[in-house]
């Protein structure tokens, strides 16, 4: 039986062996010529090419577009106007009153997104951590619950938005339950507060499984003997959490924070389907603003949309670097 497995393994590996033998001589020549540093470049080249084509070039193009005007799509149809689009986005008579800004909807989107990020990331991290802590315990049906919490991650954001829209709309499930309990039905998505809360809750529900998984992996990597030692010393559970679990979860926490933050700033699809940015503009977030300006309006303004996306990207980079620096500093303190 082992012989059969070996034969099958060789058969499966045969094409790869063939390719490896074919590329071996030229790679040896290359290594002799450039040294091991050159080999690293060879192996990185495919990834760099993909990154260049799908990330770097579009990024540069986006920046170029942000300095052009008109409604045309092709660059040769678009006049160069310098930083005018940025000026238009940032022009306000009174920065404390959004409606005095020339692009008031941009500022509305910035304000809404800031609020969303603060509440959603906080909620996401807290809920994911609690869920991971529970799922890390030896509870009955642990595997089932892990699957249940992860399941929404597999759903398309559009499906998530539609499911919750059906739950929250006037004739939705929530109102059906409310009416059966003798309560007054509510048009949840027409209320500014509820709609805002719904976008936070729904996006947290949809993505927490992923972050829970990262934190769970971190929890399981914490050596058991630390907990056993704490137990022998009769350390209270809260102290164990603050002094052992949380510090050792640090690297995973940093990953969760950065990913949740980026995802949160980029929020679009679930919210677009769920609330369409309403009521009014109370759930209009930055990505929807960019989409509306660049694509959805009949008289599109790709340059303005590009400028807004560059500003959003810059903020994201700053936030990510800040977060990484803070978490590294915290790690350094712990190491000392």
């Amino acid at each position: 039986m082992a012989g059969l497995g070996e034969t099958l393994g060789r058969a499966a590996a045969w094409p790869f062996t063939l390719v490896a033998r074919a590329v071996d001589p030229p790679l040896r020549v290359w290594q002799r010529w450039t040294g091991t540093g050159g080999m690293a470049a060879v192996f990185l080249a495919p990834n760099l090419a993909i990154f260049g084509v799908f990330v770097l070039i579009p990024l540069v193009l986006n920046f170029v577009y942000s300095m052009t005007g008109g409604t045309g799509i092709l660059l040769d149809q678009r006049p160069f106007i310098g930083m005018e689009q940025y000026g238009r986005l940032l022009e306000c008579e009174d920065y404390t009153r959004r409606i005095t800004c020339r692009e008031d909807q941009f500022w509305t989107a910035v304000t809404n997104t800031t609020g969303f990020v603060i509440f959603q990331v906080t909620l996401m991290v807290v809920v994911s951590l609690i869920t991971a802590l529970i799922l890390n315990r030896n509870i009955r049906g642990r595997g089932f619950f892990r699957a249940v919490f992860f399941f929404p991650v597999l759903l398309s954001p559009v499906v998530v938005g539609l499911i919750w829209r059906w739950i929250l709309q006037r004739e939705g499930l929530l109102n059906l339950i409310a009416v059966n309990l003798g309560l007054e039905p509510e048009i949840w998505l027409n209320d500014r507060f509820y709609a805002f809360a719904a976008t936070i809750g729904v996006s947290t529900w949809a993505h927490m499984g992923f972050y829970t998984l990262i934190l769970l992996a971190g929890l399981q990597a914490i050596p058991r003997d630390l907990y056993e030692a704490a137990e022998m010393d009769a350390t209270p559970p809260a102290r164990v959490f603050w002094r052992i679990t949380l510090p050792l979860l640090g690297p995973n926490f940093a990953v969760v924070l950065v990913l949740a933050l980026i995802r949160s700033v980029q929020i679009f699809d679930e919210v677009y389907v769920l609330t369409g940015g309403g009521p009014g503009t109370s759930t209009l977030y930055l990505t929807q603003y960019i989409y509306e300006v660049g694509f959805a309006s009949i008289l599109r303004n790709p340059g303005l949309a590009a400028a807004a996306s560059i500003l959003m990207g810059a903020v994201l980079v700053v936030l990510t670097l800040l977060q990484l620096r803070l978490s590294r500093r915290a790690e350094g303190r712990r190491a000392r």
Partner: protein, 425 residues
């Protein structure tokens, strides 16, 4: 073995033969959206076309209306797109339409039967033949007759105003415990019939957008008040941001509102989905202080100038624009005809058993005789969408309590100026 080799050879010959045949056929792609059942009918018509024109393979790409509104313009702006498309934003994108004049069999036939509306779909001053209107549309209202009867409320008659209709619908709403009295689609095009009724003028003397006037603000104020009073279904306007289009068709079909303002293109859809659940009637456009006119429009089928096969596109267009084919299309889709010959010949045999349909069509045909300066001019005006977009965005914000009507007015002027500025760069 011999059998296998022979079979393989035969298959190969057949395969190569079919490839060669397929290569001889010119593929024409049509981007098409449907409000109701017209996609199926168009497919049937095109299947028959292919039988008589084996050299042309017409592929009907059925897409959502949003694709026509949001993705097609991007394709066109980058010099790509289908060979033929069904479009509603005809004037703004006129630069992308193929001039069929030198390709169609008889340009005079096109001029005679469709010439009245060519200016809706070609640049100002052009004599191009860009395509034809598959149907004319007119904005207008629908009322749930059964709900009015159940409530014991008499439907307002000829010459009734917006206020009359809202007041009567309010009685029905209260009597039947409905969520709202009425709804109007979240669309600048739709509410422009209302603003025109109150004497709005969007077009300046120089043909450029005029500042927002009192006529526009009169109707906008009414819409806001009706929303604040809980008479207008809030889900349609308030629950969205930006220029997002939202219709209230499902709410009318589900008998949630007694009065719904949309347009003639819904007749087939209402007939199919409502069936005999309740009786409904078309009511035209209620009157304001100045007019009672709906806003004309429609969908046009246009050739795209980036096509590699303009001759074949013209052959397909000649077929679809023929009187016989358009008559059948009109009778089966329950659309208002846009072909002069079809209209003049009359005697259209609309294919439906629904007793609500014929009176509705007659009502819209009669209503198309009503006009106002603005509704007459808007279909061929380049800057209509600059107005429509900001009307929707800003009035929604007022309804949501974010800004006041006065603020909205100055913001609308600024939005329009910005859009004109961008488009003129």
């Amino acid at each position: 073995m011999k059998f296998t080799m022979t079979s393989f050879a035969a298959l190969a010959v057949a395969g190569f033969g079919s490839v060669a045949f397929a290569q001889d056929r010119t593929e024409i792609r049509v981007m098409w959206y449907s409000d109701g059942i017209e996609g199926e009918i168009m497919q049937d018509l095109l299947d028959r076309f292919e039988e008589s024109h084996p050299e042309i393979d017409v592929v009907l790409d059925n897409v959502a209306y949003q694709v026509i509104q949001e993705q097609l313009p991007i394709q066109l702006a980058s010099g790509q797109g289908p060979d033929i498309a069904r479009v509603t934003n005809l004037k703004e994108q006129a630069e992308h339409w193929l001039d069929l004049r030198e390709y169609v069999e008889d340009p005079a036939y096109w001029e005679t039967n469709f010439g009245d509306r060519f200016d809706w779909m070609r640049p100002d001053g052009s004599d191009a033949i860009p395509g034809f209107m598959t149907q004319l549309t007119l904005t207008g209202g629908f009322a749930n007759k059964t709900l009015f009867e159940q409530a014991g409320v008499e439907m307002p008659g000829e010459g009734a105003t917006w206020d009359d209709w809202i007041a009567a619908s309010k009685e029905v709403m209260e009597s039947q415990q409905l969520p709202a009295a009425f709804a109007i689609d979240r669309s600048g095009h739709r509410i422009s019939a209302g603003t025109a009724s109150y004497g709005a003028n969007y077009i300046g003397d120089d043909g450029m957008p005029a500042p927002i006037d009192d006529g526009t603000m009169s109707f906008a104020t009414k819409l806001v008040e009706w929303t604040e009073e809980g008479l207008m279904l809030p889900e349609v306007w308030v629950s969205a941001a930006g220029t997002t289009y939202r219709a209230a068709t499902d709410d009318f079909i589900n008998a949630q509102i007694p009065f719904y303002y949309s347009g003639s293109w819904l007749i087939a859809n209402l007939s199919t989905k409502i069936g005999d659940a309740f009786d409904w009637v078309a009511i035209g456009t209620p009157c304001g202080t100045e007019a009672c006119a709906g806003l004309a429009g429609g969908a046009g089928l246009v050739g795209i100038k980036y096509t590699q096969h303009p001759e074949e596109v013209a052959v397909v267009m000649d077929y679809l624009a023929s009187e016989e084919v358009l008559r059948e299309f009109t009778e089966r889709t329950l659309f208002l005809p846009a072909h002069k010959g079809v209209v003049e010949a009359g005697g259209l045999n609309f294919q439906t058993d629904d007793p609500n349909v014929a009176p509705a069509l007659e009502k819209f045909i009669a209503a198309s005789g009503e006009s106002s300066p603005l509704t007459d001019a808007l279909p061929a005006w380049k800057w209509g969408n600059a107005y429509y977009g900001t009307l929707v965005t800003r009035i929604s914000q007022v309804m949501a309590g974010e800004i006041s009507l006065d603020e909205a007015r100055s913001m609308m002027d600024q939005d329009i100026a910005d859009q004109v500025g961008t488009a003129s760069q």
